[in-house]
């Protein structure tokens, strides 16, 4: 699972739909991929990001980012390359995603988060 997906994903339970963003990420194993830098894609994804949550996750993985993102940063090539690396190249191979309000944990295995619900949890 990439950090971009983490920044968009919410708890799958109907009872806490959308109130508990983001899911707490505990990463046990991380791999770094090497995809080609794509400026347009990165700029477009920035519009979708919740910067606060992204900043916190990047911080927990040991990458420091500016507190706030200004519109001029879109033309900052070095920052864009770093963001592209963080968004698309860092893959969490194993770990857990935990909902902060209901405490439901979703395991990540081989880079695939398991969002399946039990019968009793189904909507």
């Amino acid at each position: 699972m990439r950090l971009l997906t983490h920044n968009l994903l919410m708890c799958n339970l109907k009872t806490c739909a959308g109130q508990n963003f983001p899911l707490a990420l505990q990463a046990n194993e991380i791999s770094e991929e090497n995809t080609e830098f794509n400026l347009v894609l990165t700029q477009k994804m920035l519009g979708k990001l919740d910067w606060k949550a992204f900043h916190r996750v990047a911080d927990s993985l040991g990458h420091t980012l500016p507190e706030e993102l200004t519109p001029e940063d879109q033309n900052n090539d070095e920052l864009m390359q770093r963001l592209h690396h963080l968004l698309f190249n860092i893959v969490v191979l194993s770990g857990t995603l935990t909902c902060q309000s209901c405490g439901r944990a979703y395991p990540i295995d081989k880079g695939i988060p398991n969002m399946l619900l039990e019968d009793s949890e189904e909507a």
Binding site: M1, L41, G111, L116, L117
Partner: protein, 272 residues
């Protein structure tokens, strides 16, 4: 043709053996790739840099078509074996193990499009006693409506078992707030026929503010027109007209048919 939906639930049907076919069987790969290309064409995405959701992504075949055009995709599937195949094929998007019939929750309006190849017909079957296909469709379309950006489209390719299924699916989508269109490719052929359901979340462009009325403007009311239906005339069996009609029908089904000539449907001479 047997329908896999009637054999077992998707997560069991697509076991490692069935999933293997999606790497080794060139016929399956070709058909899937072709449908994906068509669906992406119908999606009408801007040139590059979009975030697309792939429902029932399976081995990530449709995703690789998306990656080729410079988009990023997040895929969901219920079959772990198919997702492992996707990992083997080094799918460029992100994968997720989830049941689309339960709905999903993403940041509102984050996706620029959604694609789904041969997946939603699985939801028509109730695999457990607690499953209600109507409920599961509404879960799916409600969460999709939330996750899609305004002006975005979703394209679903699926194989309906009977016309009622199309109706159920379209109705649930419309209830969730979508505008729905159906495209049927090769409608006359039984084999090559493909159904594509296109959903819009409402258009961003093309909307014009209505102009206020002036004194000179009159509100136009047109008279109701009665359109007479053309009566279907049956032509005589084995007549020239009948033969030409039949040949035309078969041509539309993609069969190889001799061209119509002056000899077509002509009576033989008496002395023969």
């Amino acid at each position: 043709m047997s329908r896999p939906e009637n054999v077992a639930p998707a997560q069991y049907y697509y076991n490692s053996e069935e999933a293997e076919k999606y790497t080794s069987n060139s016929r399956i790969i070709e058909v899937q790739a072709h449908m994906s290309q068509r669906a992406i064409e119908l999606l009408q995405l801007p040139s590059s840099g979009c975030l697309v959701l792939d429902l029932g992504c399976g081995s990530g075949l449709s995703g690789s078509e998306l990656s080729d055009s410079g988009h990023f995709w997040i895929g969901m599937d219920i079959s772990p074996s198919m997702l492992l195949v996707a990992l083997d094929r080094e799918a460029e998007g992100d994968l997720m193990l989830a049941d689309i019939g339960n709905g999903f929750h993403f940041a509102p309006g984050c996706f620029d499009g959604c694609i789904s190849i041969s997946a939603i017909q699985w939801l028509c079957n109730a695999e457990k006693a607690s499953h209600n296909p109507y409920k599961r469709f509404s879960n799916l379309f409600n969460s999709l409506y939330k996750a899609l950006a305004r002006g975005a489209r979703a394209v679903f390719q699926f194989y309906p078992a009977h016309p009622q299924q199309i109706e159920i699916i379209t109705q649930s989508a419309v209830k969730a707030g979508f505008m729905a269109d159906m495209v049927i490719d090769f409608p006359e052929s039984t084999k090559a026929k493909k159904y594509y359901l296109i959903l819009h979340t409402g258009s961003k462009s093309g909307y014009m503010n209505p102009m206020p009325l002036n004194d000179e403007d009159e509100v136009k009311v047109s008279k109701r027109k009665i359109v007479k239906k053309e009566k279907h005339v049956k032509c005589k069996n084995k007549s020239k007209e009948w033969i030409i009609n039949k040949k035309e029908r078969q041509r539309k089904q993609g069969k190889e048919i001799r061209p119509d000539t002056k000899y077509t449907g002509r009576k033989r001479h008496d002395r023969f």
